[in-house]
Symmetry: D2
Subunit: 396 residues, 4 copies
C-alpha cells in the first residue's frame, strides 16, 4: 500500500513523495478549531488522529478524546506527558497540531520539536519575537517539518492570485490593501465565554487580541500573495465595544518591500462582516481582489480589458498547481475545511519528502512555514510599538 | 468510547443516537465521486473506509484500494463477492456506498440490502421505475437504512429554505422554478473520456443522460424545499452539442401538488455555468432564491420589506437544526464536501438510531431516502414519455 | 445653431444627421411613463415638450400640461384634436409619444401618422395583429419615422451583447432564455389603482395582461440580442394572485429561427424581483447573461477562459457604437432614464436623417422599429392561441 | 402654469415651494461635467439652459453654446462678462453652474454671488480655506442660495443610509470607512489630455489632485451619512503612476466627532475600480455598506439578523423622503444623471423657497451646501499639512 501525494495527472516529472501508511496525528488543545483541523486532516486520507492532550482535567481529556475515538491510554492530561510518552512508542505520533491559547504555542511546539515530532502550530506562532526566533532556529538546525496555521493561504484562489502576481499579470505591484472584518464580538454575553476570555487576557493572548488573532492573517496574505514582505507599520488601535484589556480593532498603514504602501484593517465590530478576510492588490497593469466570504472567486483586472472572474475548475485559466488543491467537481463550492485539508496535505507531503530526501517544488507544496510564523509575530510586535509611540512608523 | 451524533448543545430532549465505534464503510465504484464521498465520510469522524469493489480488473481494484489504505484482502473485483464476503466477517462493513454507472445501482444496492448492509446509492436510484419500487419494498420490509446521493439537499441553506417554507414565511407557494446549468460537456474531447462515455450510452445511463444525471437534482430540490411533490411534467429534450445517443439538455414545464406550476431546466451546454443548481420558489407573501455557485447564501424576500440574505452563523435567524450542520466557524465558507459529510452524518445517525430503536425528529435528521430516489426515477420516466409524445403532460 | 447627433469623436465617416433646432414633442397619455419619457427626451438636448393630450377631462389635461410648462392652448382633451390642430401650426410638433392604455395605441398612432408626424408608441404596439400590420404598411408607404417603446434594447450593455453575438464571440447560438420577473402586483390594494385596472381589462389591455406588458419585452430582447427571430411558442398561462380577467403569469417554451430552443418566463408575483428582465444566451463557444437589476454589467463567458464582466467605460472592450450611448463618466452608474434618452436620441437621429436623406448605419442608430412592434403583437397572439389549445406549438 | 416641487402625494403638510416657470440656468466651463449637469438639469423639468461662458476663445464658446441651443448673444467669452451682462437682462439667469478648473471656482462663484445669482459650484469649492470662508460669509450675509457639486449625496440609497443612521438603526456609530478607488489614470497617454493636465497642475488644481478631486467626495459622504463631521486626519500621500507634480493616491487615518475613528482611501491607480466610491459605517447594533458601482443597493446589517439589501421602490422600507427622489418605476435602475437631477431639483426648490419665504424640512430638501464645501476645503488643507509633517494628526 502506498499513495502518491501528487496526483499522477499533475505530476509530470519525478520523483514525488509517497506514503505507505497514514500518518499519525496528535492533538494539543481541545476546542472547535481542533475539531475543524482533525476533520480536515482525516479528509485528506493521509492522517489518523491517534493521541491527544485535550484538557488539563484528565476526565475532560478522556471524554473529548472519545469523540475522536482516541484510545484512553493516549488521552493525556498535559502536552509534556504526551510528547514524552508518544516518543517512546513504536507507533507514536508523526506530527502534532497545537491549538491551545497563544501563550502555550511556544512551550508545546518546542516540546514536540525536541522529540523529533513534526508540528503544525496555530497563529500567532508565539507571543514573543524571541520565542519565534528560537523555534525557527530549532527547525533549521534539526531540518524539522513545521507548519503554521495560516490555512487561508491554502485556498485555491489565494494560490492562484499569488501565481498571477508572480507571473507579472498585474505588472509591478504598487499598493496592497488587506483586512479582516468580523462582527462576532458584538454578540451579547460573548465576552464571558471561555473560548473568548483568554483572547482578552494579555497573559494568554499576548500583547494584542484582534491584531494577533486576525490581523496577522491579513498581514500574511498581503505578503504571501504579493511576494513582498511587510517592512513597516503605523498602527491605530481601538477598543470599540465594551471596555477590555486588549484592542478589538486596529487600523494600520503599511509599507511592504520596495516601499510599496498599503493599509490593513482588522476589527471584530463590523456588523454584517462574518469572515471578511480580503485583499486588494494593485499593480501597474492590473489588480486582484478576493474575499473569504466568496472564497471560490478571484477578480482579476487587466487594465483596458473587461474584468475577469476566475474560479476553480479545470481548463479555465487556473494553474495546475492550484487545480491540484481542488477536491470537488467543476462548479461545486469548497470552503475552509478544504483549505485546512490542503494545509494538512502539504504538511504530509513535506514529512514524506523529508523522509525520502526529496525536494518539492514551491508551487506544488508551499504550506505556511515557521518563518511565516515569525513574520507574523514581528508584525504584531511592531504594531504594538507603533501604537504605544503615537502611531510612529515601526520596522517589522 | 462513544460519541453523541446530535451535539449536546443542540440536543434539548432525548434520547439521542450514539455510536461507540466508527462505522465501517465499503465502496462500490472507484471514480472521482467515490473519492469525494469517502473524504466526506472520513470528515464526519463517524466512518472508516475498510473495503471496496473499485474495479472489475483485480489489479486496478487493488491499486485503487491502496489509495484508501484498504487491506488487500478486502479489495474485491466484484460487488457480489464483496457483499458475500463482508457478510461473513465479524468486522464486516456496516454500510456501502454505490457510485457505479447507473445500470449497476439496482443490482449492487440489492445485493447489499440482501445481506443486511445499509446502502447509500448515487442518483438516479435505478434506470427502471420497477427496480426502484423493488428497492423501496425491500427497505420497508426489512426496516433497512437506505440513503440516496442527493447531497445538495444537505447544504445548510437548502435546509434553511425548506424550514422557512414549512414555517409559512413565504405564504402559500405559487410557483417553483429550478434548474441545473452546467457547461463541462463543451470541453474538447470530453465525450471520449471514460467517465463520460457511459453517461451517453443508454445501456448504462438509462433512458436519459442530462435529465437523470442533473435534472433529477433540480427536481428533488424543488419538491424537497417546497414540500410539494412533483406531479406532472411536459418535456422538451435537445441535443445541443455534438450528436449523441441521449439528450444533453432538457426544458420542462411542471406541476407540483396543488397544481402549483413551475419550470425546470437542465443542460450541460450553458457556458459560464459551472455548478448552476438553482431554485426560486415564490409564494403569496415572499420568495426564496438559492444558487449552488454561492451556496452559503440564501435570499429571502418578504414582500414589502427589504430582501434578506441569510447565511450560516449562529444567532442570525438560522434554525438550530440547520446550524447543527455547520462545521466551520462563523463566516467561513463551506462547500460540497461538507454537504456530503452532512449526508454521511445523518446516514450514520439513522443506522445508530435503528440499532438503538430511536426515532430521530425529521428536522434533526432528514437524509434523502429511498422514496426520494423513487420519485426521481418516476420523474425521469415521465419526462421521457412526454418527450416521446410531443410534449404532452405526463403524470410523474 | 446646429448639433451633430453623432459625436464627432465617434463619427469617422460622413455625412451625419444634424439638427439646427430642438425637435418639438407632443405627449399623448399622462401617466408616470409619460413623465419618464419626457424627462428622458429633455435630457438628450434634442427635444422640447410643447403639446399634450394628457387627459380626456379638459381641466385635468390643463393641470397636467402645466407641470410640463405646456402652453394652455396646446393642452388638448383628445389626441384627434391634437393631431389636427398641431398639423395646422407652423411650429407644430415634429413627433408624438403615445403612452395611453393599449387599446388606444393603434388609433392614436394612426392619427398622427396620417398627419405626417413621427410616432414613438409604447408596447404592445396594438392589440390586434391586423392593426400592427396596418401601421407597418403605413410607415413603409410614407417613409415615416416610427419607434416602439422597447427602451431596454437601448441600454448600452444590451447593445454590447448584441454586437458580441453578431461578431461570433459565443459561436453558434444554441439556446435562448429570457424572463421578466416582477412582484409589484403583490401589493395590497394595487389591483384597484387606476393605472392597474386597465391592465386587467381585456377591452383596454387586449387579450393578455402580463404577456403583452412585460413578456413582450423579454421576447424582444431575446430576438434583438441573438439576431434570431422568435418563430414558435408553447404557452402556459396562470393567475397566481387574486382572481382576475387576464393572466398575471406566463411560462413559455420557445423556438427561434434555425429551430433554436429556449424558454421565456413573465410574472408579477415573484417576490424580491423588482425589475427582473434578464436574458441568458448560450452558444457553441460561450454565453452571455444580463439582468436589468444590474444593468451596467454584462457577463461574457468564453468557454475555457475565466468569465468576463463587461461594463460601460471607454477602452475596456466596449464597442464605440455602444460607448456613444454612455452619458456618465467612467464607472458612474446609468439607469432606465438614460435608456429612454438613448431611444429618444436615436429617434431624433432618424428624423434628422430622413429629412436630410441620410442613411445611418444600423450599429450607430437602431431604435426599436415598427416591425419590432409587429413581432411583439404576433408573439402575444401566438401565446394566446397556444394557451387556448392546451399548450400546442403555435407559429409566431 | 405652476409646478409644485414637492409631489403632492409626499407632501403631507404645507406650504410648499412652487415654480410658475422654468428657471434659467447659465453654464461656466464647457467640459463633460457641464454636459452631464445640463442634461440632468433639463431632466428635472425645472431648468432651461440659456447662457454660457464655455470657453475663453470666443469662437469655441459660440460653437459649444450651439450644442445647447444657447442664443449666440448669450454665449460669453468670460464669466465676468456673463455675470455683468446677464444681471442687466430682465430674463437673466436665475442660477449658474460653475464647472471650471478648481482655481476659478472662487472668482466665478463670487462674481455671480455679487450679482445676486444663485450658484451651484463644483468641488473642491476653492483652493484656499480663506476663499471658502469668504463664500460662506457672503452666502450667509445675503441669504443667497448656494450648492456644491457633491452629487453622490443625492443618490437615493445614500439618503436612505443617512436617515437610517439618524434613526439609530445601527446604534452608536463606532467606525467610518470611506474610499474612492478609480483607475482611469492608468490609461496610456491620458496624462497629456487637456481635461487631465490641469488636474495635475498645482496652479489650477490647488495643493492636491486626487485628494481634492475624489478624496473630498469620500470625506463628504462619511460625514454626511454618519452625521459626524470629520475632525482630524493623518495622511499618507503617494505618486503611484508616472511622476507628477501632485499626488495620485492618498491613504488617510481619520477621526470624526466624538473621536470616532476611521479610514479614507483615494486613488486613481486601482485597476478594476471604475467608480469605487464606497462607505462602510459600523455602529453598536449594526452596519451600513454602499458602493457607487452598485448604487441602487444598500446593505443594512442589524446584528443578530440576516443582512438586508435595501433598494429603491415604494413600500419596501424606503423612507418617503428618499422615495421622492426616485424617477424610474419599481426595479428600474437609476444612475449618476438622476443624482445630479436630484441636486438640481433641490437647488430649484431652495431658490423657490427663498423667493416664497418658505423653509423646507431638511429631509425633504438637503442639497450639499456652501458649508459642506468649506468642510471639504479644510479636509484637503489638513491632509496636506499632515503629509508635509510626516503623517502627524491635523485638525480639519
Amino acid at each position: 500500500m502506498s499513495s502518491c501525494l501528487l496526483p499522477e495527472n499533475f505530476a509530470t516529472t519525478g520523483p514525488y513523495p509517497r506514503l505507505n501508511r497514514r500518518l499519525r496525528l496528535g492533538v494539543v488543545g481541545g476546542g472547535r478549531i481542533a475539531s475543524t483541523q482533525s476533520a480536515a486532516a482525516r479528509m485528506t486520507e493521509c492522517w489518523d488522529i491517534v493521541a491527544g492532550a485535550l484538557s488539563s482535567d484528565p476526565a475532560k481529556a478522556q471524554k473529548r478524546g472519545s469523540n475522536w475515538y482516541i484510545e484512553p491510554n493516549r488521552c493525556y492530561a498535559s502536552f509534556e506527558e504526551m510528547a514524552r510518552e508518544e516518543a517512546k512508542r513504536t507507533d507514536g505520533i508523526d506530527a502534532v497540531m497545537v491549538t491551545t491559547p497563544n501563550h502555550l504555542h511556544f512551550p508545546a511546539a518546542k516540546a514536540f520539536l525536541d522529540e523529533g515530532v513534526a508540528v503544525l502550530c496555530d497563529k500567532p506562532l508565539t507571543n514573543e519575537v524571541e520565542e519565534a526566533q528560537t523555534l525557527v532556529k530549532q527547525v533549521n538546525t534539526r531540518g524539522a517539518v513545521f507548519a503554521v496555521g495560516y490555512a487561508m493561504s491554502c485556498i485555491p484562489m489565494v494560490r492562484q492570485a499569488r501565481e498571477l502576481v508572480a507571473a507579472g499579470e498585474i505588472g509591478e505591484v504598487n499598493q496592497i490593501h488587506t483586512e479582516f472584518m468580523q462582527d462576532w464580538m458584538m454578540a451579547e454575553g460573548v465576552l464571558d465565554a471561555d473560548h473568548v476570555k483568554w483572547r482578552l487576557d494579555p497573559k494568554q493572548s499576548g500583547p494584542t487580541s484582534c491584531t494577533g488573532d486576525i490581523g496577522t492573517h491579513a498581514a500574511h496574505l498581503g505578503s504571501f500573495v504579493s511576494g513582498l514582505p511587510l517592512t513597516h507599520v503605523r498602527a491605530d488601535m481601538h477598543v470599540l465595544g465594551a471596555p477590555k484589556a486588549l484592542e478589538d480593532t486596529v487600523f494600520i498603514s503599511t509599507r511592504h518591500a520596495n516601499e510599496i504602501p498599503g493599509t490593513l484593517l482588522a476589527t471584530r465590530y463590523a456588523s454584517g462582516n462574518r469572515g471578511g478576510l480580503r485583499f486588494r492588490i494593485f499593480g501597474s497593469q492590473g489588480g486582484l481582489e478576493w474575499d473569504l466570504e466568496n472564497a471560490d472567486y478571484l477578480k482579476l483586472s487587466k487594465f483596458g480589458q473587461p474584468d475577469q472572474i476566475i474560479t476553480r475548475g479545470h481548463g479555465h485559466g487556473v494553474s495546475p498547481t492550484v487545480e491540484r488543491l481542488v477536491r470537488a467537481g467543476r462548479g461545486f463550492p469548497e470552503g475552509i475545511m478544504e483549505a485546512w485539508a490542503n494545509l494538512y496535505l502539504e504538511f504530509a507531503m513535506a514529512i514524506a519528502a523529508a523522509r525520502d530526501g526529496i525536494t518539492v517544488d514551491q508551487n506544488w507544496g508551499r504550506h505556511p512555514e515557521v518563518t511565516d510564523g515569525l513574520e507574523g509575530v514581528k508584525f504584531i510586535n511592531a504594531a504594538v510599538k507603533s501604537h504605544q509611540q503615537d502611531g510612529s512608523w515601526q520596522k517589522v
